[in-house]
Amino acid sequence: MRGLRKVLTPFAPDQSGAVSVLYNLGGLIVIIDAGGCTGNVCGFDEPRWHGARAAVFSAGLRDMDAILGRDTLLVSKIASAAERIDARFVALVGTPVPATIATDYKALKRMLEKKVNLPILTLPTDGMKLYDSGESVAYKELFETFAGDDVRASEGEELILGATPLTYGDSYTDVTLEDIESIRGRRLVAASSSGIEAARLTGKDYEIRSSLAEALLAKEKIEGKVLVCHDEVFGKTLRDGGCDCDIATFFTLHDEIRQEGDIKITEEDEFTSLALSGRYDVIIADNCLQKLAKGYEGRWIDAPFFALSGRM
């Protein structure tokens, strides 16, 4: 049945992706929820939370706030916090609750701009899409708010986009607001699916490359026909490194990466069919997917993918 998960737990949602991009940028991040979504983000999808305190807050919505659409109360709570917290911007991150009550983010932004003297970012994530979508939304909002027009240093320093902990685990690379401000002058590397979306927004050329996949290629000798189930950039980097692989991904598969044999998958059964098709000598994927490939007799190479398994 479409949408039914019998083996895997749900993957990292878009709101986790959005927060992952914003997390270390010095903003006051408000997740518009009753508390559970914030718990999922900080308590599970954001490994950096365990290392240092961060200004990530739940809006603490209650039923009547949602039913009556008490935006004024929400604005008042945020304004009160903004007075007492040092922040460079305020980001509103959506969840299923504002999606259900059709929250008007533009109106919220206008209301907040009258009360808070900081840039306001609105990210209408809804918890029903996947993390790469949320990361892309966050990059777009950051670029529209902070990207400068300086293109003088077009051959400048490398800037890696899309290397958040959700794709890279503890090998993540943070982007700073200064990076965003100077992005038009930087040499861009798209390190994941959301990195491609982000790089495209700049209108500049960019390189597509995953350091995770490069590390795997350096470590493992991979022979035969391979199925790689990970982020698309991870798969492309393996392919570029000489690996004869088909890419299957639960996340976005861009046309510029897709080749014959590559596939975007959604359901558990789709992965099972691929794994047991007899076409692959090697599968490179997070070990959590092994439960879907019972009976597969080829070589399995573990490629941890936090957005799937929550494993670093």
Binding site: M1, T9, P10, A59, G60, K77, I85, D126
Partner: protein, 437 residues
């Protein structure tokens, strides 16, 4: 500008009065800081028994979580525990479901597929819990009706299907999720002939630690002491209907006890977990009177007093910081420790008006005890350096006080009564001893 966490002393709060508790100490007044306590409290699958684990307290049950993917994300923490393997399933909602409500028509087929899947593995369930979340709270979903449709779909199996409401939005309402889920669990019980020698302990989802309460009941002639967590099978769980009376050990089970009194004819008596020896003794005396039994608590009371005395003799100036991720009411615990002669420097807990009575008494004994609220945004700037505490209690307190010993005291198995006091004193002694060793 120097930023710091908002705090009030017990004296300040007491002087303001129950009706004027500072908004920074209350729930629901502002944005909620992502502290360990609020995450554990807000994220039902993350720690302890939230709706998801609680819903699976019934033996031989499985859960289908019908929600946007984000709501089930952190369930993988729970799923990795051996006792929850093959017990969580998900029907993921998309945006079209949200607009049209079509996901509701898919649930019976999903339940049927899950049951078939489990039957194929020789793990047929007796109960399927359908867990729904904030989205369906706002859509006004009639989940009882959906569950009835599910039972009809798999009528040949006799499997029960019941709803679990993980409605974080209603946390401060009259029937918050943790009250409701208990009602759901015990609603599976059907009237049964009474066994005068059977008693239920209801309120917690993990067993109560072996202690004097069970002994008092056995000495009074009780043969069967049932807790949902100690029932090995669904049939054993159903025998909870035969109880002569219920002992309610958590106020969140009061509504369930009312239901069982009305539907099953089982009366109840409520015992609160407290750390004041005198209050524990009074509760047992009330239990003896209500149940018509004799309880000799002198030895247990004396042992608890001795444990407190020994710790105080060993550490006469012992000073605590106390959090709220703990098997205790942090304000009651603070007051008890002060009454024993210890000191309490800081408390990290949300102050509900009904707890004000404790703060008023704390203010008399220790007016400078500082109260912080875990939810308050300025806890981002909390600085422990000015605290004089030697040890912290509560898992969340360890987060704020990383450089002093900590007794988390938040395990699933629940401490109670004199036994709980003795064990807590022993754990404190051990934690302090490990530092000096």
């Amino acid at each position: 500008m120097r930023r710091e966490a908002v705090t009030y002393t017990a004296k300040q709060v007491a002087e303001l009065g129950r009706d004027n508790i500072p908004s920074e100490l209350l729930s629901g007044q502002g944005l909620v800081y992502s502290s360990p306590a609020t995450l554990a409290y807000n994220s039902p699958g993350a720690e302890g028994f939230g709706v998801k684990r609680a819903g699976l307290s019934v033996p031989e049950s499985v859960m289908l979580i019908v929600s946007p993917g984000c709501c089930g994300r952190n369930t993988s923490i729970v799923s990795s525990m051996p006792q929850y393997e093959d017990r969580f399933f998900y029907l993921l909602m998309d945006e079209t479901d949200l607009v049209t409500g079509r996901h509701l028509t898919k649930i019976p087929d999903a339940v049927s597929e899950v049951v078939s899947f489990l039957e194929g593995q020789g793990k047929a369930p007796r109960v399927v819990m359908i867990c729904i979340t904030c989205v369906d709270a706002l859509l006004g979903t009639d989940m009882e009706r959906v569950c009835n449709a599910c039972e009809a779909k798999i009528a040949d199996t006799g499997i029960r299907v019941r709803p679990c409401y993980m409605y974080a939005l209603t946390r401060e309402g009259r029937r918050p999720p943790m009250v409701h889920v208990r009602q759901t669990l015990y609603s599976l019980l059907a009237p049964m002939e009474k066994d005068p020698r059977s008693v239920n302990l209801i309120g917690n989802f993990a067993p109560m630690a072996e202690g004097e309460l069970q002994r008092y009941l056995l000495e009074a002639g009780v043969k069967n002491i049932r807790q949902i967590s100690t029932c090995g099978t669904y049939d054993e769980f159903l025998k909870m209907s035969s109880a002569n009376f219920n002992i309610v050990t958590n106020p969140e089970a009061r509504a369930s006890a009312d239901d069982m009194s009305r539907e099953l004819g089982i009366p109840y008596i409520e015992l609160t977990r407290v750390y004041g020896i005198r209050k524990v003794a009074l509760q047992y005396q009330a239990l003896a009177q209500a149940a018509g039994i004799t309880i000799d608590l002198a030895d247990d009371k004396q042992e608890a007093e001795q444990a407190v005395f020994d710790l105080r003799e060993k550490y006469p100036d012992l000073t605590f910081n106390i959090g709220e991720c703990i098997n205790a009411d942090p304000f009651e615990l603070a007051l008890s420790l002060l009454r024993y002669g210890f000191k309490v420097d800081e408390i990290y807990a949300t102050l509900a008006p009904e707890k004000f009575r404790y703060v008023a008494k704390i203010a008399e004994l220790s007016p400078d005890t500082k109260i912080y609220c875990n939810m308050e945004p300025t806890m981002l700037y909390y600085d422990v350096s000015s605290s004089r505490a030697h040890i912290s209690l509560g898992k969340d307190a360890a987060y704020y006080c990383p450089d002093i010993p900590n007794v988390a005291w938040n395990e699933d198995v629940q401490p109670f009564g004199f036994q709980g006091i003795k064990e807590l004193m022993a754990r404190i002694d051990r934690a302090l001893g490990e530092v000096t060793a």
